[in-house]
Symmetry: D2
Subunit: 330 residues, 4 copies
C-alpha cells in the first residue's frame, strides 16, 4: 500500500484525484495539503486522512508519492521539493507556464532520479488509446492527417483566463500533446490562426477563444486542431486519423443511448457535459498507471519532457498567431 | 452505516454485489455466507469481512440487511428466514420457480413487515429508465406498442438450462418485468412462440432458445419480446416504445466509440459483452435505491408482487407455447 | 421498344408508373385508360400518349404489356382480359381481396400462358434486397428470427379504410410478402394481435390500426411484424434479420444527411415521408425487371402465386385476430 | 423548349450533362461538339441529336444555350465565342487555370451581357444547401468555424495531374468555393500546408496530394479544408459548421442503409463511390437552376466572379504552400 499526499483540494482534487487514490486497492490517501483549510477539511473528513503543510508532507517518510493538483504557479516548486524529498511525483499539466522555469525544474527531477508523471489524462481515454493502438497494429497503414476537434462547453471566467497562460498553454496544450502521442513524431512546423468570437472580454484580456492550429511532421503527415472555448452542445472531444488505408475516428461519448423520433425529427443525447464526465475512465486509468510506476513495474509513460514539448508547441503556436506566419520548429 | 450479509459468493456476488456494498458510503459488507468455502474466502479476504453460516447471520443483531444472490432454489427459504429475523431483504430474481412457493414466501414477508426488494436490475439501467421517464413526461403521448429485443451473447451450459426453469422463467422474466415497468399496466393476454435453433441439447433438455412473446394490455397497447440465447455479436439489450407522437428507442451500449472506415466498409464496436458490463450502472443504482429503503427514505420500488407477476407471465407464456394458443390473463 | 397501356391514372399512375414507363429506354407509354377522364388527360398531355377504353386497349395489337394500377376491385377482371388478349401483365397488389376470385383469375392467367408480375415493389428496395442477398451469401448463417417494422406516417381517410379490405389485406400484405421473400419458406402458423389506437373511426369501420403478427416457419425460424397506421415521424420501414452469426438490419432512409447539435440535443432528419419517396428506387427496379420479362429474358420474380399467398396469410392473420388463437397453415 | 449545345462528350458529358439536359422537360439536347468523333457519336446516337463543329454551333440560331464540359484549356475560348454569339452559358469549372486569361474572358462576357453560370455543383448538393439554409435561418447563430473534409477515393493518373493545374486549382477549388458559399464573406488570409503521401509520382510531377488549408474571414470566423487525393474508403465529402449555438454537420451519403452485426463488429456501407454517385442530385439541381436562368426567371447563382475568386484563393494557397507563410488577401 502506497501512501499518497494530495496537493490541492480544489474541484479536481475533491471529485477526481482523492476518489481515485482512495478507490485503488494499492494506494492510500494519506494526507491533503491546501492553503484553503476548508477544502482540505472536506477531503480529510470524507477520506479520513491527515491535513498537512507542504513542509510536513515533504518531510514525512511515510509518504511514497505526491499528486500535485494545486494552482498552476505552484507546480514547479512542489515538483522540486518532492523530487528532493525522494517522492514519486504525479503532476497535473503544466509544469509551469514559463519554459525556462520548466527546464530548470526538470533538471532537478533528473538530478534526483525520481519518477515524474505529467497528467495528460487524455492519453488514457479508452477512445484515443484505441486509435493509437489500431494505428500501431497497422489497421489503417501509415498516419497521414490527423484532425482533433476540442471544444469546451462554455468559457471559464475572465479571471481564470487572465492567469491561464492563454488558450494555447491552457487548453490547446492537451491537443498538442494528443497530436504528439498519436503521430509518434515531433512536428517540424506549426501555424496558428485565432479569433475572439465567444466572449469579447477574453479578447480584452489579451487572449483568443477560437483557433485552428496546423502542424507538419517529418514524415510529411499533418495535424490540425480546431479549438473553441464554447461549443453550445456539450464537451466536444473527437479525433479523426486518416491513414493510407482509411480512417480511425474517435467519436464523442453521449449522455445516454436513447433516441426520440417525432414529427420534429430524430434526436439523440448531447455529448457528455465536461471533462469530469468524459474523462472519468481516463483519470482512473492514468492513476492505475502511476501506481505501476510507484511499484517499479513501469516507467512514466508521460514524462516531464512531454510536458515541456507540449508547452514548447503552445509557445510556438502563440508566436505564429502573433506573427501570422508558420513557425519552424527545432 | 448499515451492515450487510451477502448470501452467495458466486460470480455475481464476487464481481457485482460485494463491490457495490463496499463502495457505497452507507453500507458495510459485514459477512458472506456460501456453502462453497473457497468462494466465501475470496470475498472475505478481499473485503475483510466475516464468513458466517446461515444461522449465524440470521441471528446476528449487527446485520441490518441481507443480499440474497445464492442458488435460485435457496431464495425463498432465505427470504423467509431473513424476514423472520427482521432484516431488510434484497433478493435476486426469482423468488422461486414455483408459483405456490412464491406466494407462501411472500405471505411470510408480509406478516413480518420487512422490506423486500427484488433485483430486477434493468429497471435501473439509465437507458430504460430514461424511456420510462420521457414517456411519463408525455414526450411521445400514450404508449402504443413496445418492442423488447433481448439476446444473450451465447447460451449457458445445458447443465444450467436444466435447473433454470426454462427460457421464460430464467431469461424472459427480465423482459416481462420490463414490459410491465414501461407500460405501467398489467397485460390481459400473452402469446408465445419458440424454437430450438441455437443448441439442440437445449431442446433435448425440454427447453427452447429462441422466442417471440406478444402481450396485450387493457388500453389496447401491445408489447413484443424477441429472445435468443445467442446473438453472435454481444449482448443485445434494446427497446423501442412507439407512442402517439413518436418513438423512444433505447439503443445498445457499445464497447467503444471508435469507428474505422476502410475499403471493406465502415465499422464500429460491438455491444458491451454481457450483463456485467452492460448493467454495471444499473447494479449500482439499484443498490443505491436499496440503501434508501434501509434508511426508511424509500419503499422498495420493485416488490415481491413484481417478482410474482413476472413469474406468472413466464408461466403463462409457457402455457401458450405448449398449447399454441393465446392465453387470457386475470 | 414495348408499348405499354397504363390502367389507372390516379396518384401512383401519375407520379410513379407513367414516369418509369416513359423513362425506361425500352418502353413507351402508349396509352392510358381511366374512367376519370381528367386524370387520363393529365397523363396523355404530359407524355403525349393515347387515351383508350378498356376494350380498345385490349384489342390493340400494338400493345405489348399492360400495367394495372386501377382501383383494387378492377384488378382481377383486367388481368383476365389482358391475359386473354395475350398481353404481358404488371399488376399492383392485390389481385383481389377475395381468395376465390384470386384463384379463378390466376387459372385464367395460367391457361393463357401470359407472364403476370405482381407489384410487391419492396422486394426491389435496395436495402431489403441487400439483406436477402447477404443472407443467401451466408453472411449471418441460417435465418432465425425476422423483425419487420412497418408504419405509415398517418392513417388514410376512413372512406378508404372501408374498401381497403382491412389493415392486413391492405397494408400488412406487403410485410407478409416481405417475410416470405426474406425467409424463403412458407409459414406454418400465424398469430395476430391488434388494436384501434390511432383513430376510433377506424374501429367503428370494423378495422384495426395497430398490430403485431407472429409467424413460424418449418425450420423453426420465426418472423414478427409490427404495424401501425400512424408513426408520428415519417414512414417507418425497417427490418432486422437475426441469424446464426449475427444480424442484418435494414435501416430507414432519411430526408437528408445533415445533423444539428445544440443545447437541446443532437438532431437528424426524419425518415423519408412516405412510399413515393422511400420506394422510388424500388419502383424503378421492378419496372426494369418487368421489361426483362417483356423481352423474354426473365420470368416474373413475383408471381400470381406470391400474390395469392400473401392474401392467404392476411386472411389467416385476420382469423387469428378474431379468434384470439394461433392459426395453423397448410 | 430550349435547345442546348453540349461541348465535350467525355465521361461527365455522357453520364451527367447529356442525361440531365434530356431529362429536363424544358431543355432539348440539340447538338454535341467534340474533337473525338467517337464520343460525340455515342451521345448523338443515344439522344438523337446533331453533331456539330464549334463554328456551326456558335452560328446556329436555334441554339439557346451552351454547356461547356470540354477540356479545361478550351473553356475560356468557348465562353468568349458563345458570349459573342449571344448564347446563355453553363461552364464547368474552371474558366481557365491562368488568372489573367480568366479576367480577360469575363470582360468579354460582361460586354456581351450574356448569363454565365459556373458549375460549382456542390452548392446544389442537398446536404450542403441545407447547412447554408439553416445557418441563414439562424439555427446555430453566427458562423464561427467551418471544417471541410474532401477526399477523393483514389488519385487520378499522373498524366492528368500534369495538366490539372495542381491540387489546389483542380480539387481544392471546389472546397474554396464551398467555404465562400457557406461563410458568405471573402477570406482575408489563407495558409496552406501540403505533402505528397499518396503517390510519389505526383510529387515528381511537382504537385502534392494531401493538404490542409486555413482561411480567416473579416468577421474573425475561420475555415479549414482537409484534402487528400485518396481516401481508402470511398468519396469523403463532409462539412461541419460550428456557430454560436452549435454545429451543423453534413455527413457522407452511404452506399446503402444496411448494417451487419457479427462477432467481428458492427458494419455499415462505405460512402458513395465518387462524384457521379454523390452529386447526382446536385448536377440535376444546378441544371434546373440554369433552365431558370435561360427563361429569365433567375440570375446565375454562381457567376464568373465566383469562378475567378475560387481560382484566386487556389493561387494564393499555392503561394502560401511555396513560401510557408500565411498570405494576406485583398
Amino acid at each position: 500500500m502506497y501512501n499518497i499526499a494530495l496537493f490541492g483540494a480544489g474541484r479536481i482534487g475533491q471529485v477526481v484525484h482523492s476518489v481515485n487514490i482512495d478507490a485503488h486497492p494499492e494506494t492510500n490517501l494519506y494526507s491533503v495539503i491546501d492553503p484553503f483549510g476548508e477544502n482540505a477539511q472536506k477531503i480529510a473528513d470524507k477520506f479520513d486522512c491527515k491535513i498537512q503543510t507542504v513542509e510536513e508532507a515533504m518531510q514525512d517518510p511515510n509518504i511514497h508519492g505526491v499528486l500535485i493538483a494545486s494552482a498552476t504557479d505552484t507546480h514547479a516548486e512542489l515538483i522540486e521539493l518532492a523530487a528532493k524529498a525522494g517522492k514519486a511525483i504525479f503532476c497535473e499539466k503544466p509544469v509551469h507556464l514559463d519554459m525556462d522555469r520548466v527546464k530548470q525544474c526538470l533538471q532537478v527531477v533528473e538530478a534526483e532520479k525520481v519518477p515524474l508523471f505529467i497528467g495528460f489524462n487524455r492519453r488514457y481515454d479508452p477512445q484515443f488509446k484505441a486509435v493509437k493502438e489500431r494505428l500501431s497494429l497497422g489497421m489503417i497503414g501509415k498516419a497521414e492527417s490527423l484532425l482533433i476537434i476540442s471544444r469546451d462547453p462554455s468559457p471559464p471566467p475572465v479571471e481564470y483566463i487572465k492567469v491561464s497562460g492563454g488558450l494555447f498553454r491552457d487548453m490547446t496544450i492537451h491537443d498538442l500533446d494528443m497530436a504528439r502521442f498519436i503521430m509518434g513524431e515531433e512536428p517540424v512546423s506549426v501555424y496558428a490562426s485565432g479569433s475572439t468570437l465567444v466572449d469579447e472580454n477574453i479578447g480584452k484580456a489579451g487572449d483568443i477563444d477560437t483557433a485552428y492550429i496546423v502542424m507538419r511532421f517529418p514524415s510529411g503527415a499533418m495535424a490540425t486542431i480546431s479549438n473553441s472555448r464554447r461549443s453550445g452542445y456539450g464537451y466536444d472531444q473527437r479525433l479523426e486519423l486518416h491513414g493510407e488505408k482509411g480512417v480511425l475516428a474517435a467519436k464523442n461519448l453521449h449522455e445516454d443511448a436513447v433516441e426520440m423520433w417525432t414529427d420534429e425529427g430524430c434526436q439523440y443525447a448531447k455529448p457528455e457535459f465536461f471533462f469530469l464526465q468524459r474523462y472519468e475512465a481516463a483519470y482512473q486509468a492514468e492513476w492505475k498507471h502511476f501506481v505501476e510506476v510507484l511499484s517499479g513495474k513501469s516507467q512514466p509513460a508521460v514524462t516531464g519532457y512531454d510536458g515541456q514539448q507540449a508547452l514548447y508547441l503552445a509557445d510556438k503556436a502563440l508566436e505564429s498567431l502573433k506573427t501570422g506566419q508558420e513557425v519552424k520548429l527545432d
